[in-house]
């Protein structure tokens, strides 16, 4: 690989470079470099092979160069990104997972999108407590050490913000699956069933709801029905094997599998059991879905069946030209496992079954692939997921017909990427 190509790996496509100017110098160089490799006159030796490389000649750093390892510098462009105009201030804001740079089903901890309502709380675990109070036989306080003495379980769950794809209700707006679908991550959690903790305190028969509350400066709180609390909710202290990251709620967070991310309270410090919901800010003024008649749905908890093609996509164009081509993406449902993913290359006129590879777990991301021989003509790429309950991912038009343009949350419509002959992709909607 030439130095030129290595440099180009750090190239981050912007909409200007891909949409306004066609292929820019950098983008063009990337294509030329890769194409050039293939187009070397027959018999011309490849310098990537014939030239002696530094890494082949000189010793590298020793074992302690990075006590906590970090990705290759050639992957420096693989980062979370935000959309500054979405919110008033970065302390109460959101950034997005770079889905187009990932494969498999697990999101690396440092790339899991962030949403905070008063910044990242820096909590000393030695001074952190989890309290259970309200309608219980005995109100209890646990230290982190106490929590880690309960029976643990390991579960992989997706977390999706209810507002994921929320900017697309009025039509295609953001160019990149990172921005249209990146309020999403998928992590293996280690923790204790909330049920186990509630049973330790003893829930009274009148206890029908819980309030989950965070220790951060927004005092994040959400009401959750007791049936869900006693079902699969997890009080987690590890993600992908290591301690939670501060921005994901270190030292302990709530997991509410399949339900909107706002309920997965971070820096969890208190569970109150009550007989009614609390109607706090995040379940009244926010996270309620305004309908065209001016009325609003509340307690819209479940995240519906959804999928998106991550490659190719606007931030990840095809640079190899026609021939054997892989389409890949992710699918998920708050209602269980994904049963099937269909892919269309003609804007939904004809569909083929995609291949799901890797673990198929309830309320977890599924990875799908569709391999075909691209003839280089323009395509309209779509994916459509079906979950084990039989729910089928709807079109955006079908959602708008039912809900109008102003419900913000729960947009699980089918995404279309317009793949052009030069390999660029653009966010579009089709008839």
């Amino acid at each position: 690989m030439s130095k030129q190509t290595q440099k180009d790996k750090n190239f981050v496509p912007s909409r200007r470079s891909f949409l306004q100017g066609g292929l820019t110098a950098a983008g063009g160089a990337a294509v030329a470099a890769i194409g050039g490799g293939a187009a070397l006159a027959a018999g011309t030796p490849d310098p990537a092979i014939t030239e002696l490389k530094d890494w082949n000649q000189y010793s590298g750093p020793g074992v302690d160069a990075a006590p906590y390892g970090v990705p290759s510098p050639f992957e420096a462009h693989v980062v979370r990104r935000d959309v500054p105009w979405l919110t008033a201030d970065p302390i109460s804001s959101i950034n997005f997972t770079p889905l187009h740079e990932l494969d498999g089903i697990i999101t690396p901890n440092g790339l899991c999108f962030e949403r905070h309502h008063s910044g990242v709380a820096e909590v000393d675990p030695a001074e952190h407590r989890l309290m259970i109070n309200g309608l219980v036989d005995k109100p209890l306080v646990f230290t982190m050490q106490d929590l880690m003495r309960f029976p643990r379980e390991n579960r992989v769950y997706f977390l999706e913000c209810a507002a994921n794809s929320g900017m697309e209700w009025r039509g295609a707006q953001l160019n990149g699956c990172q921005f249209t679908h990146g309020m999403l991550h998928n992590v293996m959690y280690t923790g204790v069933r909330l049920r186990t903790l509630l049973e330790e305190a003893g829930v009274k028969p009148s206890g029908k709801w819980i309030l989950a509350e965070g220790a951060d400066a927004s005092g994040m709180g959400r009401s959750i029905p007791i049936e869900k609390a006693l079902d699969d909710c997890l009080v987690a202290f590890k993600m992908n094997g290591e301690a939670l990251r501060p921005e994901q709620g270190y030292p302990v967070r709530l997991c509410v599998p399949g339900w909107e991310g706002n309920m997965w309270v971070k820096w969890l410090r208190r569970i109150e059991v009550g007989d009614k919901p609390w109607q706090l800010r995040e379940e009244t003024s926010k996270y309620t879905d305004l309908m065209p008649d001016g009325r609003a749905r509340r307690f819209t908890w479940a995240m519906d069946v959804k999928s998106v093609i991550t490659n190719p996509s606007p931030q990840a164009p095809i640079t190899h030209g026609r021939g054997h081509t892989i389409i890949t993406g992710v699918a998920w449902s708050g209602h269980g496992k994904i049963k099937r993913v269909d892919v269309s290359i003609d804007g939904g006129r004809n569909w083929q079954h995609a291949r799901i590879d890797g673990p198929s777990l309830s309320r977890s991301l599924h990875r799908f692939y569709y391999e075909f021989n691209w003839d280089g003509s323009p395509l309209y790429l779509q994916s459509r997921a079906i979950d084990e309950q039989g729910y089928v991912q709807p079109t955006k038009d079908a959602l708008r017909a039912a809900r109008g343009d102003n419900s913000i949350y729960h947009n699980n419509g089918i995404q279309t990427w317009y793949l052009k002959s030069n390999g660029e992709a653009e966010n579009v909607e089709v008839s």
């Binding site: 909409r15 200007r16 008033a88 921005f179 005092g219 269909d342 006129r349």
Partner: protein
């Protein structure tokens, strides 16, 4: 020996002088204090003006002198009259901003603790070259941080001596004390459960609101920039661009009290007393025409008189009734739709994908 003693003494003296001068400053601790400021001020590489001016090179800066920031008249005038930010002026200003520069639009009430002021100034000094130079010489040698090689956990007492509680299944945790529950359980429900004893009037709330809230939410609750709009928006819920406020959208007044009490003002949460929270809640109801008299007093006793106009317009999730959720339908696989697909909307028309430019898109998600 005597020489050595003398030398040590001079170091101690120097150190003491420095400590007096700088109030035993601690820039690291100051970084934490600065969180109270960070909602409005940025400092460090790439810092830009926000609600307040950026604070790089604040030491030696003439008050009100950044050209691209719109100061209050009072602050500009203070600068013209010779106010320059240094250790002493910042110390006085941060203790009581509105006393030191009468008419400043900085809504922050001030830092109450001297060490917080000293620490935050020490922190700001690390972003000011002139201050760094002044501080360079006399600092006593910092104790190097011990490198921990293993967990610092104290070994337990004799394991057999541990007391096992009787509750529950695993006998883990301990009973929460009433004072502990009271310290954390501050939530308030629509039926008034959780309201603390207290009261406050619309008039009191107006003063508190101007001091603590208006900088982000606007003098009339109209919202500055993208900060939340709190008032107005009546009859817009079916409009193309609905404005969802306390008066036009929120179902319950208890949510105002609960949220202000637990999370406001932004960056200085839980600093308002129950009485202050009643007063601000009363004022927000007044801004939304829910109450109309300036002498209206909201209290734990009058709270049940209040209801918000949009309460009836919320209903439980009924998504599953939508046609989209039919479960027995095999989707079309071949020759679906009418004719070939055509583009009806492209991101490039409305494109607001971030690429470094300042741009605004349609419809935020906050």
């Amino acid at each position: 020996m005597s020489k050595f003693l003398k030398f040590t003494a001079s170091i101690v003296l120097l150190g003491a002088a420095w400590a007096t001068n700088a109030n035993a400053q601690d820039a690291d601790a100051g970084e934490k204090v600065f969180r109270k400021c960070a909602a409005c001020h940025a400092v460090g590489e790439g810092a830009k003006n926000k609600v307040g001016p950026e604070l790089n090179e604040i030491f030696g800066r003439v008050a009100g002198s950044l050209e691209d920031f719109k100061y209050s008249k009072a602050m500009t005038k203070a600068g013209e009259e010779g106010l320059v930010w240094d250790h002493d002026s910042l110390t006085e200003y941060l203790a009581k901003p509105r006393d030191y520069v009468k008419g400043t639009k900085m809504a922050f009430a001030g830092l109450k603790k001297d060490d917080e002021i000293a620490n935050v100034i020490a922190y700001l000094a690390t972003f000011s070259e002139s201050a760094e130079q002044a501080a360079a010489e006399p600092e006593s040698a910092p104790a190097s941080e011990p490198v921990e090689t293993a967990s610092a956990a104290e070994p337990a007492l004799n394991a057999a001596d541990a007391v096992i509680p009787e509750h529950g299944v695993y006998h883990l945790g301990r009973e929460a004390l009433p004072e502990e529950i009271a310290a954390w359980d501050i939530d308030v429900r629509p039926d008034g459960v959780g309201l603390p004893v207290g009261s406050g009037t619309v008039a009191d709330g107006g003063v508190l609101y101007d001091e603590n809230c208006a900088v982000c939410h606007g003098v009339f609750g109209e919202g500055e920039g993208r900060w939340p709009v709190l008032s107005g928006g009546f009859d817009t819920l079916t409009a193309d661009r609905p404005v969802k406020t306390i008066g036009s959208y929120w179902p319950f007044a208890s949510t105002i009290f609960d949220y202000v009490h637990r999370a406001m003002p932004f960056g200085n949460a839980r600093s308002l007393s129950a009485d202050q929270t009643y007063a601000i809640t009363a004022y927000l109801l007044y801004l939304n025409d829910i109450v109309t008299e300036e002498d209206f007093e909201l209290s734990n006793e009058t709270f049940s008189e209040i209801s918000l106009p949009n309460e009836e317009n919320f209903y439980p999730d009924d998504r599953l009734e939508e046609a989209n959720f039919a479960t027995n339908v095999e989707p079309c696989m071949e020759n679906c739709g009418d004719g070939p697909a055509e583009i009806v909307m492209r991101a490039r028309i409305l494109d607001v994908t971030p690429d470094g430019d300042e741009e605004n898109g349609a419809g935020g998600i906050d």
